[in-house]
């Protein structure tokens, strides 16, 4: 299911950004496999249980990847796929950053960076007090790991041994104005999480098998999965190109991109 979900979501996200003139397609294509494995396989969530107090919680901190988030969720059945048609347009349900208001299954509105991990830690602490054993998944971008609030919350998650918290970093190495290592270096990135008391695993972030196995693995400590990804994944002229954080695909881009996705049906 994650494979088909990712395939449909890539097509939708491209069409959504092109149609509405929205940015961030590179970030959406980067994170879609992670989200497809979460919603399609690993997380104990369902469109029929969005209010169930025992459901897992998926938080997408990189709110700018909204087109990808919405595309995955619509194709997973959380809301009508037709809602994607007016993404980012006047009066739409769906805005350019992830919003929880009126969108079934979205747990937290995000957009400003560095917000979801502290929130997730709060939910995990409440679960611990309530004796609820469910998982909290927090998807971060790599660029947003410059936000200090993430590291404040990372300290707290380790301090309280919040084993149910799993961070997945979409490590595509690019941010708005350049490579993360040129803008404000994160490396040695895995060591930073380890030093904060987290268990760390690095995976190929477009390999659904690797992602699924890493996400299913449990520990007595909070876990950080560094998912090595390619920004713009699946469209050759967008892949690993800094400008596709910001640029909007025109009609020609869209036709070419959709054709490429049609021929490259297998994941990396």
């Amino acid at each position: 299911m994650p494979t088909e979900l990712a395939r449909q979501a890539r097509r939708s996200a491209l069409a959504m950004c092109s149609r509405s003139g929205a940015s961030h397609i590179g970030a959406a294509l980067s994170v879609i496999d992670i989200l497809s494995v979460l919603y399609g396989e690993v997380a104990d969530v369902s469109p029929h249980r969005t209010e169930d107090p025992s459901r897992d919680i998926v938080l997408v901190s990189k709110g700018h990847s909204a087109s990808g988030v919405y595309a995955v969720m619509a194709h997973a059945g959380y809301f009508p796929v037709e809602w994607l048609d007016d993404y980012y347009l006047d009066g739409s349900h769906l805005g350019g950053h992830v919003t929880a208001h009126g969108i079934p299954g979205v747990e937290l509105s995000t957009g400003a960076l560095g917000h979801a991990l502290p929130f997730g830690v709060g939910r995990a602490i409440a679960d611990k007090l309530d004796g609820i054993d469910r998982r909290i998944f927090v998807v971060l971008s790599d660029g947003e790991c410059a936000e200090g609030s993430n590291w404040e919350a990372a300290l707290m998650a380790a301090h309280h041994a919040l084993r149910n918290v799993t961070v997945i970093v979409d490590r595509n190495g690019l941010q708005i104005l350049g490579r993360t290592e040129d803008v404000l270096g994160l490396e040695p990135f895995a060591d930073k999480w380890r030093a904060f008391g987290w268990e760390v695993e690095e995976v190929e972030g477009h390999d659904h098998g690797e992602l699924g196995r890493a996400l299913h693995t449990r520990s007595q400590r909070p876990r950080a999965i560094i998912a090595n990804t390619t920004k713009g994944k699946g469209v050759d002229f967008m892949e690993d190109r800094v400008e596709w954080h910001t640029l909007v695909p025109n009609d020609e881009h869209l036709v070419t991109a959709l054709a490429q996705l049609e021929t490259n049906t297998t994941e990396a």
């Binding site: 502290p118 830690v121 602490i125 409440a126 404040e152």
Partner: protein, 308 residues
């Protein structure tokens, strides 16, 4: 007032296990009683206010009623975006509690002066703002906060504020509370600076100016109608706050009056638009930062004469 707050919250925690106290590693000798009595409802989040407010939002999303306690600007300005996005955007029942606002920590320097907080917090959507003048108003504010599951900001003084009431007042209407009757001019104070309003009223009595004095612990939602009614029969309203005059209680009154079409004269008294470099206690800085008793007295007297 901080002791009264912790005492009140400890009482609430006994019957309401959703009530939680989160601290940013502040409150030595003040918060321990709560933590000892209700360890599962107490969380020291460390010196990490952004995370603390995000955590509080997560707890509130799981049904808790967290009170985020720190001093001065640390629970408000430092994590402002978390308050705006995580708390207000989602309409979550998180309460920010700031102890020692205004110039209460005067000698600790401008970093510790909570003098812009009301303006900023007041502008956030759905945020209720309470600025009690004494321990009884503080307890009443906690009751009001818990009666509604929406965001709130509780702006406290420090300690040993004289009591203004015999019993806990009712804040449900948000109406200002009469402390001293008078017939010529009305002074409404926000918070513990009520003591200065009362001192000015005493000093003006022999000069033939009769000053009515009220507190207004509910800054938002402001009951402009009740504020307006409170000044009935007097020349107008002087608002008094240990806070910048830009955007605080006085501004709230002026906005409310403009929207209602009230023409009652209003004089907003507060701190000037300047970071203070003065070192000294609360009274020392008040005297030198535009809130001296002399200045307030002469301003009230002139306002009363001008609008008589």
């Amino acid at each position: 007032m901080r002791d009264a707050f912790v005492r009140k919250l400890t009482e609430e925690a006994e019957t309401n296990e959703d009530v939680m106290l989160l601290v940013g590693d502040l409150g030595f000798g003040v918060v321990a009683a709560f933590g000892d009595a209700y360890p599962k409802q107490f969380l020291n989040c460390g010196v990490a206010e952004q995370s603390m407010v995000g955590v509080a939002a997560g707890l509130a999303a799981s049904g808790r009623r967290p009170f985020v306690y720190s001093i001065s600007n640390f629970p408000s300005l430092r994590p402002l975006e978390q308050i705006r996005n995580d708390v207000c955007y989602h309409g979550l029942g998180v309460t920010l509690v700031a102890v020692g606002t205004g110039l209460a920590y005067g000698a600790l320097g401008y970093t510790h002066h909570g003098v812009e907080d009301m303006s900023i917090l007041r502008s956030l959507p759905g945020m209720r703002v309470y600025t009690p003048a004494d321990a009884l108003e503080c307890a009443a504010a906690v009751d009001e906060i818990l009666a509604d599951p929406s965001p709130a900001y509780l702006r406290l003084g420090k300690n040993k504020e004289p009591l203004m009431h015999d019993e806990q007042p009712d804040l449900s209407t948000g109406a200002p509370l009469l402390i001293r009757e008078g017939t010529d001019v009305t002074v409404i104070a926000a918070g513990p600076i009520i003591t200065q309003a009362l001192a000015v009223a005493e000093e003006l009595e022999p000069e033939g100016v009769s000053v009515r004095v009220l507190t207004c612990p509910v800054i938002k939602p402001l009951n402009a109608e009740a504020v307006h009614a409170a000044a009935t029969g007097t020349a107008g309203i002087v608002t008094l706050e240990e806070h910048t005059v830009l955007g605080g209680f006085g501004s709230a009154v002026l906005e409310g009056f403009a929207l209602q079409g009230y023409r009652t004269p209003v004089l907003p008294l507060g701190l000037a638009d300047a970071a203070t470099h003065i070192i000294g206690g609360q009274e020392w800085i008040r005297e030198r930062a535009g809130l001296s008793t002399d200045h307030v007295r002469s301003s009230v007297a002139a306002f009363a004469r001008r609008n008589a």
